[in-house]
Structures are given as C-alpha cells and as structure tokens.
Amino acid sequence: MSEATTVAEAPTIDSALPFNDAVPGAVIGVWAEETDKAYFVAPDKLLPLLTHLRDREQYDLLSSVTCVDYSAYKGKLRAGISERFDVVYHLYSTKKGGGPIRLHVRVPENETVPSATGVYPGANLQEREVYDLFGIKFEGHPNLRRVLTWEGFHGHPLRKDWKEAYYEEDAKPFKSRHPGGHYQWHEDKLPWGDNNTYPQGWDPDSWKEPVTYVPVSQAPYHGYGELDTQSIVINLGPHHPSTHGVFRMLTRVEGETILALEPEMGYLHRNHEKIGERNTWLMNMPFTDRLDYINSMSNNLGYALAVEKLLDIEVPERAQYIRVIMAEFTRIINHTWSIGFILNDLGALQTPALYAIEEREMILDLFEEVSGSRMMCNYMRFGGVVRDLTPGWVDRAKYLAYDRLPRALDQLDELLSGNEIIKARGRGVGYLSAEDLIALSVTGPMLRAAGVPYDIRKVEPYCIYDRFDFDVPTLPESDIYARYYIRLLEARESLKILQQALRDIPPGEVNAYASATLGQGFGTIMGGKGGYTFRPKEGEAYARIEAPKGELGFFVVSDNKPNPYRYHVRSPSFINLNALGPMSVGYKVADAIVILGAIDIVLGEVDR
C-alpha cells in the first residue's frame, strides 16, 4: 500500500487524533460517546494503520471483523460520518493484554475495503462472512467466496432491506399473535409451501449452478517421492463419520498426503444474527444457548456481559459466583467432551468417548436442577441469573468438584495419556507455530498448547475471575497431543476455581433487578409491568469471555429500541478454523480428521 502524504480533504485530518503522527490521515474521527471508544479510519489508510498497530503497538491479534448496515439507523450520526456500511475491527494484544482497539471503516454501498488478510491472515474467514452477508467486497482477498450461504444465493441477507420468505415485521413481538391470534401456518403464505423466495424473472428451468473457483483445485502439484503420483481432490463431508456435525473439507491429496485443504461451512447456518436483530434483547438469551450447544452457560454469560455493558448495570455478588461456577462446570463438560471425541477421531471408537462423557451427565443433572434443561439452560439474565440455586445444590456441586470430578479426570488421564498409540498419532502432528496461530486469530486452548499464556480470564478479567487463584497452563509443542493434554490440564484448573467459588459463595440476591412478583425468577430490568422489554441507551458494546473453545465475543449495537440494531457473535470455533488449512498441509488424510477434532469446533457456533 502506498502511503499518500497529501490528503485531499484537509478538514477531516487532525493530527491530534491518535495514531495520526505515525500514519498521517488514518484516523478521521473518534466517537467516545459510547460504551467503548471507537476510531474511524479512512479506508485507504486502513492497511498502513493495521501494519503500524501490529508492528509498533503490539496489537497482534485481529480478534473480530464484522459489519453494520446503518441504512435503517434512527439514532445519532456517529462522528458525523453517514456512509451506509461500517466495517468494525477489534484488535487485541496477546503481549500486553488489556482492552481492545476498535476501528471503524465506513463505506458507502458498492465501495471496496482493502482486505486485512495481508496483515492479519486471520481476517480470511471473517471477511468472507462480511462479504457473504453484507456484500462488501474486500480488495486483495485471496478467496472471496460466499461462506455461510452458497454460491448463487440471491442477495446479502444481513442488509437491513433484505427480507426473508416468512418475513412478518421488523421487530418482535409480531402483531398477529394477540389479541386476534388465529393460528396461521407459515407455509401457507407462499405458494410452494416452503421457506423460499425467488427473484422476479428467474427461470428455474434454465438454472445452472455457478461454477466456483475453489483454491484447492489449483494447489501446486509436487511430484515428490519415488513414484510419480497424481494429486486428486477429495471431498470430505458434509456428512461424515467424525462427530463434529455437518462440515465439509475439500482436500487436494497426493497419495495420502494433503497438499491443500479448504474448509467449507454453512451447512448449519441458522441465521442467528438476522433473527437476533428482530428479537428483543431478552429473547436472544435462549437463542445463544444454541450457538455452542455444548456450553450454553458460557454463551449466556457472554451475551449477558455484553448487554450489561450497554445497560451499565451491576450484578450482585452471589450471582457473580453462580456465573463463574456455571461457566467452569461448562468448561469441564466441554473439555472432557472434546477429549472423548478427539479420541473418536483417532479411531478409538466409543470407549474413550463413553468414559469421557460419563461425568457430564452428573453435571448436566446439576444444570437441569437449577435451570430446568440439560443443555439449553437459558439461565442467565441481565443483572444476574434467573433463579437461585436449589437447596442442597452447593453441597452436591462441592462433592463433584472436590471428589468426583478430580477422580474422573485422573481416570481419564490414566486411561489415555500414556497410551503409545495416541502418542504416536498425536506427537508432531498438526504443528503450527505460536506466531502463525496468533496471526491466524486463533484463541483458546489451541493457542495455549503452543505456549502462549493468553487467557482472557487473566489478561482482561471479567466477572470475578481476578479473585481466584488459578494458573494458565501452557504446553510448548503445539501438536495434537498437546492440544489433547492441555484440555485435561485446563479442566483441572477449572476444578480449582470451582472449589474456591463453591467455598466462598455468599448468600444474597441473585438478580439485582428481579421483581418480587409472585416469587418467581423474574429477571430483567423490569420492576413490574412491561419489564420484558427495555431499551438500552444508544451505543455499541463488545464483551468477550474465555469460552471453553476460545474467545467468545458479542458485539451489540443499540439504537435505543427494544431490539438490538446489530447483534454479532464472534465465535471461536469459526475463527479457529482459519488454521485448519495451514495446519493440515503435509500430513495424511487420516490426520486431517484428528486435526479438525483437536481444534474442537461446534457447528452451531461456526455457522451460527
């Protein structure tokens, strides 16, 4: 990128704005009237600024890239800039820790934005998502294809003027439900009786699926080895026997060796964000359960934190402890689950998995007892949790945390860790250096298995994690075995936190805003009638937590309405998949399955 020294529009340039002495003219406005500070960046200066931030300011982790369509925004004009689309970047530092730098690039429709993939390769999938859902073109992106919908899909669904087949109203609650709510079958709305719309003038008879260019088909052909083998493209998925749901990998192999691998996703794209923008703030809570459906509690927590940031409300002491307890139990569930299924992918069908998920049932029983559901807990609310623990719950949880779970983890350790086959299959497979992982925006256990002690509970503590004494385990190897073992170590650390939290949990309120109505667990900013809706003040907030799979962030924009204006999930599973291709190259096809297993993805979160 060439750095222009003369800038056409002088008045917008202010050298007092941050970073402008380093990259002149990059920041064209600051918007500090919100919960987090935001810098507006000139599109042509984005890459120099990013390079500067990465190299000079140690912001080495591009955590999230997303976009907001402001065409229907009724609120204040931000920093005097009115272009329709706003591409939002969140940068963090794995070295310094601490909060983010948020960059906004406002562009009108049909304008391109320079792709950040050259500076941060981890922008790859996220920019593809923005392209897919908003139609913003990123100049210089190596592979700008649709990612969640399919090639040939009409329109860009997250634009505010895009309507789906069953579209009723812009915001819930819909008026047709009450008082004259005669049941109507949605399918009856459309002549073909299904959830589809077609562009006018489109002829199904002459339709041909567009031929898409997939990079693997162009992968270089190496003729190494004795025999001159030919490389072929092998397609794995979307239905395949590994237990990670509907996920597809396109591989180019030579013999058994992978030359290139391209993940294909979107087979579980459930329009979480589009639905989320129609829902009220509260209604999104049960939907977050279904993101990473193994860890509904931590999803609840992340979303609650984001909205609490917007609302600026306090959470009572007891609720804080309950939240931590739930989040850590969830982490144990997730890690044992993922260990079991890494082993499954290794070919050890069933037995290790059954051992690993046995104790899960006991934890789920505890969850069910307090929240009512085994998996879809829907337990947290803004300002606390929905209901108090049941009598005797803490004792049972203590028994688990002090006695039963440590034994179970030891058993798992004894069963698996020394196993020569696992070592042979895992050691040295799927290696990627720590720098590469950070550049690819990978977070969570994967990063810690490469020796980077980056854990949001430590570097930017949320809830009350700064009160507990626990370590961030790291392993230097960055291979499959390390990724397996780090999960065991982390589960042990979670037990430590659990033991302290269960010991210290104070009595008291569980929800600061619970109304006493009929002794139920009302949990909103309500205090009476109509409390199920509320309007947070205008602004935007990004909250992130250390979910079991990595950094789980929620980016919400409010325009002071009962519904979020924008609701984005920065999901660790999705972004960690950036590393799948680079990690698998050079290994065997059978290893690719395990490498995928060791990333530990959940498709509900990948595709949202």
Binding site: N195, T197, W202, P204, T243, Y267, N271
Partner: protein, 261 residues
C-alpha cells in the same frame, strides 16, 4: 391473512389419529384365513424392529442429545441400535437430529436415497420437525418432511433422551403394524428416488418448478405489486384459487408419501 378454523383443525387431527386408534395389523380380507402371513409378519416385524440400525448422522444441538441417548445412561443398545452406521447403505433408520438448512438438504436427500429399503425416518427435535425456533430464518427448511417422508416426529428442543426413546418405541409400534403383504417396498416401482433439491438463488424442489415458474415468470402481472424495490419477491397474500390448488397438491403429495400403516 389466512386463518385455519378450529373445527377444521380438530377434524384433521381426529382423522389422522383414527388410523392408529384401530389397532394392530390389518390383514387384507382375502388373507384373513392365512395364518402363515400373520405369523410371518410377526417374525418379519420383530426382526426388523429389534435390530434397527440408525445412521450416524448429526446435524445440530439435538445430535448431542442423540449421542447422550446412545451413551451410558440411556444405552440405545437395549433397543438393538447400538451400531450407528456411518454409511447409509447399512442403516435402516435415519434420525434427523437438528436444524435442516437449505445448504444441507440436498445432501440429506441424497443420503436418504442411498439408504436401502425398508427405511425409516425419525425427525428429532422442533427444528427437524417444523423449523423450530429458527423457522423464520432465511436458510432454514421448515421441517425435513418437506423433502423426505417422515415416520415419527419427536417434538422438543432438544428432546430429552427419554423423549427420543419414546419416539423410537412409537416407531417400533408403527413397524409392528406393517404387514409383509402391504409394505410398499416389495411392490413394483415402489422405491423411486426422491428428487434432490437444487440450490438456486434459493433452494428449489424439482417437483415444484411449475408453481415457481408461474410465480416468477408467468403470472407476474397478476401479482402486480409483489415486486419490491429490491427486485425481490415479497411474501404476499396468495389468491384464493391458487391456494386451493396448492392445498390440494400438498394433500395429494402427503397422501402419496405416507407409508401404509
């Protein structure tokens, strides 16, 4: 806005239930005296129901509960189902566990076509049954039965393992009612493949091309204001006659795809 009158509603329910309230195997009249067939039926049904191998096939959250059902606490092996086969060729039962998206449905239909008959489909969870909480979404199919015939629906989000087991028992009951003389898969031309839906600008079922064409090309003038500024089709109240036609077609299709009880 269309409304479904209550009377019609409960009528339909009753009609559907009736078939199952009259119990047991229905032996065709000409075979009433034929003891052989009924015994054969018993053995035939018993053997099919006692080792029904499900397809190892998970889509979303519900799949986790399906795994939990197969794991230690609920132990699917008690129903002869412990072997989940990853290959459709070796499995008899497809448990559609989770949200069916448009991108995925061609693959599901293909897998279904590859399954050998007799084959059964159990739709697990609100999503597979009717779209579930994500029904309004733009890439979610409103129930897998839009594309392939379903034998048992298990509602719930997610159905607990017990609920799934109950659904499986219901399926067993259904199997018990079948008779070797009437099952469709020993008849001529029975196992026609379900046409695989195609991903166009939106997914379309080859069986519905006529309706779609009429809407996007033919009767454009009739719908007039249906075209919004974005050039896309907006959901509009459908003319009554068209709707009647579709209803009839749907009913026909539903009747067609059903396996005789």
């Amino acid at each position: 806005m269309t409304t479904t009158p209550v009377a019609q509603f409960s009528d339909l329910k009753r009609e559907q239930l009736n078939r199952y309230l009259h119990d047991r195997i229905q032996v065709p009249e000409e075979l009433q005296a034929n003891v052989m067939v009924t015994t054969l039926d018993k053995i035939y049904n018993w053997s099919r129901k006692s080792s029904m191998w499900p397809l190892l096939f998970g889509l979303a959250c519900c799949a986790i509960e399906m795994i939990a059902t197969a794991a230690s606490r609920y132990d699917l092996a008690r129903f002869g189902m412990e072997v989940m086969r990853p290959s459709p060729r070796q499995s008899d039962l497809m448990i559609v566990s989770g949200t069916v998206t448009k991108k995925m449905v061609p693959a599901i239909v293909r897998i279904y076509n590859q399954m050998a008959e007799p084959r059964y489909v159990l739709s697990m969870g609100a999503c597979a049954t009717g779209g579930g909480p994500f029904k309004e979404g733009y890439t979610v199919v409103s129930g897998i039965d839009k594309y392939i015939p379903v034998d048992v629906y298990v509602p719930g989000c997610p159905p607990t393992p017990e609920a799934l087991l109950y659904g499986l028992i219901k399926l067993h009951e259904k199997v018990e009612r079948q008779s070797i003389t009437t099952v469709p898969w020993y008849r001529k031309g029975a196992s026609e493949a379900v046409p695989v839906p195609i991903l166009g600008p939106d997914i379309f079922d080859p069986r519905k091309v006529q309706i779609i064409k009429e809407y996007t090309l033919g009767s454009t003038a009739a719908t007039g204001g249906a075209v919004a500024a974005t050039g896309r089709l907006q959901p509009q109240p459908i003319p009554e006659d068209v709707k009647a036609r579709i209803r009839a077609a749907q009913a026909k299709y539903r009747a067609m795809k059903k396996q005789p009880a």
